[in-house]
Amino acid sequence: MLIIGDMMYNSLSENIKTLKKLFANSADLTVREMLLNGTSTVNAAIITIEGMCSKEVIALSVINPLLSFDFGVQTSDEIIDEIKRSVLTSSEIVEFETLKEAVTFSTSGFAVLAVDGTDRMLAIGVQGFSFRGVSEPESEVVQRGSREGFTEPLRINMTLIRRRIKSPDLVFETVTVGSNSNTQLMLCYLQKSVSPELLNKIRKRLDECNLNTVLASGYLSEYLEDSNAKSIFSGVGISERPDTVCGKLTEGRVAILVDGTPAVIIVPHLFVEEFQSVDDYSNRPYYATFIRILKYLSFFIAVFLPGIYTAFAQFHPEYFPTGLLIKTSESIAQTPLPVLLEVILITFVYEIMREAGLRIPKPLGHAVSIVGALVIGESAVSAGIISSSTLMVVATAAICSYVTSALYPPIMILRFIFVIIGGIFGLWGIVLTTCIVLINMCSKTSIGVPYMSSLAPFSLRSMRDVFIRADWKSLAKRTIKVQKFPETEDV
């Protein structure tokens, strides 16, 4: 039985046989055998995974120098040393001696050079796989600021960060997760800003990750959450913008870059961060403050409006102002369904349309919009199936939920809960459900930092970047590190 940590053999044919067996003769495993010139010829082989390396680079900087070099009278070990020292022109050459490393390097796009008569091998950096270029992330569009977003290859993402923080303080630390996928992660932090305890906690949690395959950042989120923090809100932030990540790093946070995905994990992640964006810091403070307040209001409208509307219409119509009460009651009286069912129905149909709009091919998206607008917006109201006031309330809440798009999942769930509770227990039920949500959020921590930090526990000093965005002169005076937030547990 092959053990992946085994040492290599001295025989080239044995090594090739073992690797082929390990890859089960996979079609993309390529072995280019050759004879190295010298007094006595020596067998050698270049092992690559097809599509992961650049064929031109292999031909020009590996095969060509190897075949044209005269190795003279040398043992296999001396040949390896000679190749490393003076034959290859590649900038990245790593020597190794185990099967496991051979597999890791070849699957990462390195060319593995094996020479007969030695158990040492060389991994030569000739990566050349195709990938998507750096482009503006669609999920985090900004008006002013960089148009660059992360892309799939890890090294490019590292470069995007390094280009913004040109300091030796910035550290990238490699971690591998996934017993099958061997996905490479990069822990990225500023060594003078980050708390060592926080870093150790993150390392430990990644170490405890028992996944076989890691294909996206989301796979790791649950492993990074605090164990006592069961909540619909996430204590793990995601960003596709290098400037956002760099900003977070300066506050003592840790970014985790996952190979193969443009979504970078940022921990610890707090509730108030959902309302901050890069644009806030590019715009004038008064305007950024206005936008912040608008975002908070939108969040409350998105969560509470349909629930409060249902509660008022069903139990407390006296709370509507007189003019609105007349219009609303007329509108509701003409529809066959009770308000609760009506609101649930419209919200449900809206969610279906949204999901369909996300998944279907783009050319069909317009068709869905037209059907939605005509069938739901026009026909259903004119046929008297739903009331126009209910439709307006649900539509307003839906639009508001996109203002803080990262919070969409909890907003959607809470909206449904508040509609149902409001329809059954009225305003009283909404107040009590709010208490449950608040208690849940207040007890949640993100790597030991209270999730509701700045608000609860209240920090007056942090308020300059919560509801308001103070001017840069005062923000620059002191950056508040995440581990310095009040009531943070040992980080």
Binding site: F315, L427, C442, S443, M452, A456
Partner: protein, 352 residues
């Protein structure tokens, strides 16, 4: 689930401030019509001055040992702790009943006459049990949001009544007798239950300063006096004949075309009772020595609910539980007598 992190004493005081708010929200005492606003304000100040004294024994223990009374008792008298725990558990069950009965009475009379009060009580206790399980730190953090909301609600209700103020028919003269003074003072003294909560959970707070307590009680007095002022001069004699005057105050307020903002009253009173019951359940689990234990919290929630059903079935039980004289006497024993006995027995030496 109880966090090991200590939090500032200001925050516990903020939560206790909101808890006290419920006393004025559920204001429903029969008051003679010859009592003046000034007389009532004096009663408020007297009631809260006595409440301040209730804090003294447990504040001394906190200052000297950095422990709350309950932790101190567990440490010093482990063999007798079962009696102390039982005494405080009974006290907190009584306190929970006192406010639960008051709240559901208000709910059924003013907010929803068709509501099933047992369902209201059961759901409320279930939500509070969850909060108590999350611990006193989470509850006090939540208290910050409740405070912010209450502040907005109070400002709206008061500013909505400014136009109704009328000083022509009522002056600031002083009228009232000794019996009225005792009656009203004892009513406003019900806020002293916060001293017992402090005696139970103050181990979780750091940077304790006596002035925080004084400020808190000062603000409670201010809130009560402002509420009384508006109830007196905005509602007039109509207000005197009404039950739950603050509800009437919120009903009569109008901001432009929007009038009758009693939904704020409903919200604030519900949030306050939620905070009180949650902290009380925390205190119960603390007094049994198993902080945050869900089983203990659920058991006592069940006991509170059963007692609640009994008190609604048997009127004499309800009368005993909602009698503020008995309640104040019990509070005096829990906040002053027992901690003072401990202070005397264990003297000044070797506290920890």
């Amino acid at each position: 689930m109880q966090t090991k992190i200590k939090f500032p004493s200001k925050r516990l005081m903020l939560s206790l401030f909101i808890c006290s708010g419920l006393v004025i929200l559920l204001l429903n005492f029969n008051e003679s019509s010859n009592l003046s606003f000034t007389f009532n304000a004096l009663c408020i100040l007297s009631g809260l001055a006595i409440t301040f004294l209730f804090f003294v024994p447990s504040a001394i223990i906190k200052k000297r040992t950095n422990l709350d009374f309950m932790s101190f008792a567990h440490l010093k008298t482990p063999s007798a702790i079962v009696f102390i725990s039982a005494f405080y558990a009974i006290y907190f069950v009584w306190t929970a009943e006192y406010f639960l009965l008051g709240y559901t009475d208000m709910f059924i009379k003013k907010l929803n006459t068709e509501a099933n009060i047992y369902v209201v009580a059961l759901i409320l206790l279930a939500v509070c049990s969850y909060a108590a399980h999350k611990g006193v730190n989470a509850i006090t953090r939540c208290g910050i949001f409740i405070f912010a909301f209450s502040l907005i609600a109070f400002i709206l209700i008061f500013s909505g009544n400014i136009a109704n103020l009328d000083f022509k028919h009522y002056g600031f003269e002083f009228s009232g007798n000794y019996n009225n003074f005792i009656e009203n003072t004892s009513y406003f003294m019900t806020t002293s239950f916060i001293a017992v909560i402090f005696a139970c959970v103050s181990v979780y707070i750091k940077d304790f300063k006596a002035r925080h307590t004084a400020f808190t009680l000062g603000f409670i007095a201010l809130l009560f006096i402002i509420t009384m002022f508006f109830a007196w001069f905005a509602l007039g004699s109509y207000g005197n004949s009404q039950e739950y005057r603050f509800f009437t105050l919120s009903k009569s307020s109008h901001l432009g075309v929007v009038s009758g903002i009693d939904c704020f009253y409903l919200s604030v009173s519900t949030l306050s009772v939620f905070l009180i019951l949650s902290i009380i359940l925390c205190c119960i689990s603390k007094s049994t020595g198993k902080s945050g234990s869900l089983n203990i919290i659920l058991l006592f929630s069940l006991i509170i609910f059963i007692l609640y059903i009994c008190s609604n079935q048997f009127n004499f039980v309800k009368e005993i539980l909602t009698n503020h004289y008995y309640f104040n006497a019990f509070t005096f024993a829990a906040a002053v007598i027992v901690p003072t006995v401990y202070l005397f027995i264990f003297g000044r030496k070797s506290y920890v």
